[in-house]
């Protein structure tokens, strides 16, 4: 890998966690794939055949430049172009907090993918809690660097919230990871993790063919 790729990956510690989880030679759909570097990383490290979905023109161009398959499409309109169970993994990294139709998108992830992988900034981190508790203001941090009035994040939630969501939507969590400054947090994850990574599937289990 080139030097620049490594630098970019250093800014996305969730990529390594995802790469650790996916099976070699599997297929992945990366929703909101940005410049496609996760897919490039998965291809180079795990031989994953992947496609990105992006709405942004500049990101689509960046993917083509990076030699990554990308389909220009609006996530909020669902994944109508993708068949049920057509991918091993559907990934949504650091985007779930920014989508309008959260339930629908998680539903689509588990329709199209046998498993889903999401990463999101954990609003349960102690520093966020302290900012609200003591300053009485919406938290601003490295992972959530926006003010309340200009944030692209529509739904802020914690690891505990996501686990609760899964329990209520017949979703079985297969793996969870909390990261802080790129390193895994083992104890009191919801309090000490700034970035959450989850792998999950329908608890009914997907019928494999």
């Amino acid at each position: 890998m080139s030097r620049s790729d490594k630098l970019t990956l250093a800014g996305r510690p969730d990529f390594e966690a995802i790469a650790h989880w996916v099976k070699p030679g599997s297929t992945a759909l990366d929703l909101g794939c940005g410049d496609g570097l996760l897919l490039k990383y998965l291809r180079e490290t795990k031989g994953v055949r992947g496609y990105g979905v992006e709405i942004d023109d500049a990101s689509v161009l960046a993917c083509v430049k990076n030699g990554v398959n990308v389909i220009q499409s609006d996530l909020e309109r669902g994944l109508a172009g993708f068949d049920a169970g057509s991918f091993d993994y559907v990934i949504l990294s650091q985007t779930l907090q920014a989508v309008r139709h959260t339930e629908e998108i998680v539903g689509e992830i588990l329709r199209v993918g046998r498993q889903g992988i999401v990463t999101f900034p954990n609003f349960g981190h102690w520093s966020q809690r302290l900012q609200i508790f003591f300053a009485g203001r919406m938290p601003v941090s490295d992972v959530l660097p926006y003010q309340w009035y200009n944030t692209p994040n529509l739904h802020l939630f914690t690891m505990a919230d996501f686990e609760n969501f899964c329990a209520g939507h017949s979703i079985r969590i297969l793996d969870r990871l909390a990261l802080h400054r790129g390193r895994p947090v083992r104890l009191m994850q919801n309090l000490r993790g700034t970035l959450a990574v989850f792998r999950f599937e329908n608890s009914a289990g997907y019928l494999r063919t």
Binding site: T27, R49, Y51, D57, V60, L61, C63, V64, K65, G67, V68, N69, V70, I71, Q72, S73, G81, F82, D83, S86
Partner: protein, 379 residues
């Protein structure tokens, strides 16, 4: 910045084929000529060739100009040339006038060596598959076993797709712009109106008008006018002409009054001067018949099962003739087969003709895609 230049003065060449070519219809053409142009140079391994396929009214003259006719600039000159998105410093680019055409390749206006008369109505109905087969023979004579890429817009995109389906081992990349896997009923309907305009022109003479020293000009004009309306979006027309009147006030007559009428008549007149009516019939029919799924039980996914190329599919939001949804059908079929494919939907107001225009996002995509094509050339 890329220093974009013209390929400069170019010269067409003719390749004659003495071996018969069978058509999908069952007809056979005993011998024929293909007129083509090339830009850039073929590398020693002959791996850097890119075939550019033309749409309805275009030709082998894709880029550059003619020494004796400097205003006759190739139809995709903004895309192809030194430093342009398809960079002729890197690639050997080929444009071919398709069989049945009227710009130098054997077509209805050519003399049938059997009869000594123009083919006229006897020229076989041709399909996209037949065109691609003929192009493959030209590639053979040029020693090109495999194209680095085949590229086209609209009907040209259909040929590029057909290359991937019909010759999976002979094309590494496909760029299909403003494409559709088939014509819709509405598309066929427009073509039928255009054909009716031509065939009902009293000067048509059953397609053998050459012997009568006339051209079904009225029919061709109408055909072009109808076609032209479908290539533009409602918004683009409104923007360009609005309801503007040539004299500034209604003339209360049926001659040209609105600017848009003047424009359409001008387009029709121009077209009827240089285009052959029989070729128009043949090309619209080739469009109608193209349906790669028909030999795969109606499944486009199965049609692409053997394709090996990497694809770039580009559509334009305001293209209602070959709408983005049609490109998505192609993308879906390629995804089903786990082929490498990228798809971009360019926000552009110009309608179907956007594929010929110099939109920076569109051109940047094609440029980047060809960077990867170049990077993958065997060394």
């Amino acid at each position: 910045m890329h220093l974009e230049q013209s390929v400069g003065a170019v010269r067409p060449r003719d390749q004659h084929f003495g071996e018969p070519l069978g058509f999908r219809s069952g007809a056979v053409l005993d011998s024929y000529t293909l007129r083509y142009e090339t830009y850039g140079s073929l590398n020693a391994d002959k791996t850097n060739a890119v075939l550019v396929c033309h749409a309805l009214n275009a030709s082998h003259h894709v880029a550059g100009y003619y020494e004796d006719d400097p205003k006759n600039i190739g139809w995709w000159d903004n895309m192809i040339g030194p430093g342009k998105p398809l960079d002729t410093n890197r690639f050997f680019v080929i444009g071919v006038n398709n069989l049945g055409g009227c710009f130098g390749s054997t077509g209805p206006s050519s003399i049938n060596p059997g009869s000594g008369l123009p083919y006229g109505s006897s020229f076989p109905v041709i399909t996209v598959e037949d065109w691609v087969n003929a192009q493959a023979r030209l590639a053979d004579t040029l020693g090109i076993a495999r194209f680095a890429a085949v590229m086209g817009g609209s009907l040209g995109a259909m040929q590029a797709l057909q290359w991937a389906i019909g010759y999976p081992d002979r094309v590494n990349h496909v760029v299909a712009v403003a494409a559709a896997p088939t014509l819709s009923a509405q598309n066929i309907a427009f073509n039928e109106v255009a054909r009716q305009a031509i065939t009902t022109d009293p000067d048509f003479h059953g397609g053998n008008y050459y012997q009568h020293g006339v051209v079904p000009r009225r029919g061709l004009r109408l055909a072009r006018m109808i076609g032209h309306i479908t290539y533009l979006s409602d918004d683009a027309m409104m923007e360009k002409f609005g309801r503007a009147l040539r004299e500034g006030k209604p003339g209360f007559h049926f001659d040209v009054d609105f600017e848009v009428e003047s424009y359409l008549r001008h387009q029709g007149d121009k077209f009827s001067e240089y285009f052959d009516a029989n070729t128009y019939l043949l090309i619209t029919r080739a469009l109608d018949y193209f349906d790669p799924a028909q030999d795969s039980g109606g499944s486009l996914t199965r049609a692409f099962a053997d394709a090996r190329a990497k694809f770039l599919i580009v559509s334009f939001t305001s293209d209602w003739r070959f709408a983005p949804e049609r490109s998505r059908e192609i993308v879906k079929a390629l995804l089903d087969n786990r082929r490498d494919v990228s798809y971009a939907e360019i926000e552009a107001p110009h309608g179907h003709d956007a594929f010929l225009l110099d939109d920076p996002r569109y051109h940047a995509l094609v440029r980047s895609f060809f960077e990867t094509v170049h990077a993958e050339l065997p060394r």
